[in-house]
Every structure is written in structure tokens, then in C-alpha cells.
């Protein structure tokens, strides 16, 4: 089954063709990251304007690179949320036109299910599994007992982990997007600032990063005021160690409680090298999987993979009334 995946929930215009949930025939991504850099974050109106500029071109590249015609597509899977509403609506309406034009069934897919299924593309899945979803908008632990069944065990009570990274990077003057830079600098720093590990022993599977974020910002501010030399690398290392300690510890607690067969990490922060290293070091009894780097950030291949399993599970498509949602529950 050839699935045409469409993803425009944030600042990437992406179209893919994925066969049977794991054979990626094409995955075109038009990234706007260089445009939004000047603003220190994604500007929704600019994102929408860029999506509409690139939309037909990205479709054209995807279908050509897959070496197919639209007539060969069996299903269209498009991100319906959560995300920036103006951006979502461009992908959704473009996808609906293809559905009507070629009479191809269409389904609306949850963005996070896409991030989770990015792992299926290369590694497959064995149930029950535990998914740690970490990105600029999400921090949650999800239990899957079978394909396309999501039980949310816990989530962040305030900031998402990627959001905390971006804010710390801004305070340290490292620019946007902050995650990759903090991660890189942390590699050559030492964890010597004793930042707190919030909620690490809270007994549930929830997270909180806003307190840690404030603590880090205050520490930075106080050191500057007292003219104490600030080693940026150590700052990054101390922050990253605190964050990854919490993420890994909570994952281990959930893994043990639900006796899962594998752990998968999904979302943009899954690209973080400190998190990858610590997860693999601390969890050795079952496999821990991370998507390939190109499937960590937003892309349509993951939507094509998730859409395939969503369609298989429910056996029916949506209709042309699909809407976009800035907020949307996964379960």
C-alpha cells in the first residue's frame, strides 16, 4: 500500500511516499529554519506564508522522486494536529484536493503518532512498548500494547523539554534553535553546577521543566552579577545532565512497571546525543530505539508510516471535512 504523507504542522513543508509503513520511497522536506532564525523562534504567519509558497513544489518533488504517479497512491495521510493552525490548514487542504482529484481515501493523523511511528520505519515494533516523546511541544511517556493504541502514562506539567532547551540557549546567547547547540557544547563541558532533577522521584510519570529552567536562568544571572566566570560548556553540560537524568530515570521506572519489550524515543529531542548515550547506557535489558536523525525532526515519512497503521487499525478513511487542530489529544 502506497501512502502519500503530508506534514505542515510547524515550519517544515514535507511530503512523502511510504510503502506499507516502512519503505520510504520519497521524503521531501522544505525547511524554513533559516528564515525563522532571525526571529528567535517560529513566527506562525511567516510559517504559513512559506508553506503556501512551497506546497506544490514539494508534492511534485516527492511524487517524482518516488517514481510514481498520483494514480499509484492508495491512501493520503495528513497531519491534522497539534500544531500551528494556519500551517496545518495548508497541508490539509492540499491533501484534500489530491483526494478529490484522484478519488483516493484520506485520513487525518496525529502529529505525535507520526513521531512514534518514525521508529517503525527502520526498526519495526514489538509490544508492549514504551515511547518517550520529546520535542519542542511535547514531553510524554506513552505505553503501546498493540499497533496504534496509545496510553498516556504521564506528561510535562509545564514546559516541553525542547522548549526549555530553546529558552536556555537564548539566555546563554546561543541562538535559535537552541537544542543542537546546547547538546554540542555540553559534550565538552562538565556537570558541576548541581542543577535540580525535578520530579525525578515523584512516583508518577509526569515531568516539569519550568522550575529547572528558572533555576538555570537565575544561576546564570547571579554569576554574571557577581562577576564569576561563566563556562558556557559547563552550563550546557549541567543543564543537559539534569534533563536527561530525569528523562531516563522516568523511562526506566515506566519500563519496569509495565514490563515492556522495547523502548522507543521520538520527537526532535530524540536527536540529542546526550539523551541517546544515557538511554543506551542505562537501559541494557531491552532494546532502546531512536529514529534515524532525518526522521527525528518533523517529516512526512513518519506521517505516512503512522497513517498506514491508523488505516489498518480502523479500516476506514475520513472524509473531505477534515479540520486542523492546534491542540489535539493522542488517545
Amino acid at each position: 500500500m502506497n501512502v502519500l504523507g503530508v506534514e505542515t504542522s510547524c515550519d517544515e513543508t514535507s511530503v512523502s511516499v511510504v510503502r506499507d509503513g516502512n519503505v520510504v520511497l520519497a521524503n521531501e522536506v522544505l525547511s524554513q529554519i533559516d528564515i525563522h532564525k532571525a526571529y528567535g523562534g517560529v513566527v506562525p504567519e511567516i510559517a504559513s506564508r512559506e508553506h503556501i509558497k512551497g506546497i506544490t513544489y514539494v508534492f511534485d518533488q516527492a511524487i517524482k522522486n518516488a517514481n510514481l504517479n498520483y494514480e499509484d497512491i492508495d491512501l493520503i495521510a495528513v497531519t491534522k494536529g497539534p500544531g500551528l493552525i494556519g500551517s496545518l490548514l495548508i497541508g490539509i487542504n492540499a491533501a484534500k484536493v489530491i483526494s478529490l482529484n484522484y478519488n483516493i481515501p484520506i485520513i487525518g493523523v496525529h502529529h505525535i503518532s507520526g513521531h512514534i511511528y518514525a521508529n517503525y520505519i527502520e526498526q519495526g515494533m514489538e509490544f508492549p512498548l514504551l515511547a518517550l516523546v520529546v520535542s519542542g511541544g511535547h514531553t510524554e511517556l506513552i505505553l503501546m500494547k498493540e499497533h496504534f493504541s496509545f496510553i498516556k502514562l504521564g506528561e510535562t506539567q509545564d514546559d516541553a523539554v525542547g522548549e526549555a532547551y530553546d529558552k536556555i540557549a537564548r539566555v546563554l546567547g546561543l541562538g535559535y534553535p537552541g537544542g543542537p547547540v546546547v547538546d554540542r557544547l555540553a559534550g565538552s563541558g562538565v556537570d558541576n553546577l548541581n542543577f535540580p532533577r525535578p520530579m525525578i522521584q515523584s512516583g508518577d510519570f509526569n515531568f516539569s521543566f519550568s522550575g529547572l529552567k528558572s533555576h538555570v536562568i537565575n544561576t546564570h544571572h547571579n554569576m554574571k552579577q557577581r562577576n564569576i566566570a561563566i563556562n558556557i560548556d559547563d552550563f550546557c553540560a549541567s543543564f543537559q545532565e539534569a534533563v536527561t537524568d530525569v528523562l531516563v530515570e522516568k523511562t526506566i521506572q515506566a519500563k519496569n512497571k509495565f514490563k515492556v519489550k522495547q523502548v522507543i524515543v521520538a520527537g526532535g529531542v530524540a536527536a540529542n546525543s546526550g539523551l541517546r548515550k544515557k538511554m543506551k547506557e542505562k537501559i541494557t535489558d531491552i532494546p532502546v530505539f531512536f529514529p534515524k536523525m532525518k526522521f527525528c525532526t518533523d517529516n512526512a515519512a513518519m506521517i505516512g508510516a503512522a497513517g498506514y497503521f491508523q488505516y489498518k487499525k480502523y479500516g476506514k478513511a475520513d472524509d473531505l471535512y477534515i479540520n486542523g487542530y492546534s491542540r489535539l489529544d493522542l488517545e
Binding site: 504567519e45 511567516i46 498520483y70 484536493v97 478529490l100 473531505l320
Partner: protein, 201 residues
Amino acid sequence: MKKSLKRLAIDTATKYIYLALLIDDKEVASIYQVGDNDHSVTILPLLEKLLDDAKITLKDIDEIIIGIGPGSYTGVRIGVTVGKMIGYLNNISVFQVSSLALIASSSKKNKILSLIDARRNNAFMAYFNQQKNTLEYIKNDTLENIESFQQNINEKYEIVEYGKPNIKKIIKSNLLVKVEDIHKLTPNYLRITEAERNLEK
């Protein structure tokens, strides 16, 4: 028998959604209805119904006319996305037209001020002359203070803020502009974003 020319017109720059189907210069079906910020939900189902009623499919369309704004940013992007995709998928001729011209075409008056409210006493506006059903620009699409735009007009005119477009009038006019590269088609916003303005300061 000569094949008939089938044209589709789309505009979603205002709170009204507009779809029309023309066969050989004759409007055979059209929809002009007010929406509640839901053009994104309704446009494809309405389009499907329009085509079904006429017993044709999207693939039968030979030409498409797209209202490219100015107007509501989110709104105009819906129609332009849909029109752009139809043009691209079927490799057909695409024409763009000002959404203000579409509004003006609904009027029968000689002098027409077409206006889409943009809040804070500003509006997207254009000023048209109409003789014997032929519509032409006097003042091009602009975004400015409503009063100051009006002060520069010293004759009797009608203000038109909505109205079902007279698409036959539009296709006879010089107001349609052929789109040479479908991939480059974007709405006419008439204004850079607030973030870009702040950055320039």
C-alpha cells in the same frame, strides 16, 4: 463536436466562500455563502457537490481562476492552496484575480470602491470604473486608512464590501492575470508580517 471549455473560479479572501463553474462562458453553477472561519472545512465538500451536480470531475476542468486577495490572510490561503493544487495536478491554465475586483464585479454602478475591512480604520481597498459592464481599475489594490483613501475621491461612488462576483464580467475584463509558473503562485497580502516590520525597525 467542439469540446466545451470548463472553468472553475475560487475565492476565499473574505468571510464569504465563492465557487463558480463556467462552461463556455456560461455560469452553470455557483456557491456564494458566508462562513464562520470554516472555509478550510467546507471548501472541498462544497467543491465536490458543485462538480457532482454538474456531473463532471476536477480532471475535466480546463482553466482555473483564483482570487489571490488581498483579504483575510488565513482565508485567502485556503482558496489559493486549493486552486494552486488543482492547477498543478491537472497541468491546466491558471489565472489570478484580485479579490477586490471580484467584489466590485457584483456591483452595477459606474464608480465602485471595493473594500475589505482590515481593522483599526484600515481596509484593503481598490477603486473601479465600470462602463457598459466593463470593469477597470482607477486605483489599484491598497491597504490604508479608509478615510484618507476616500478623501482622494471627489465624485459619487458606491462602497461594496461583499456581493456574489459576476464572473462573466471578470472573464471579459483585463483584470485576469495569467499565472506562468504555478509553483510561484502566492496570495497578495499587501503587507509584510508584523514580525518582519519589527525586525526592520
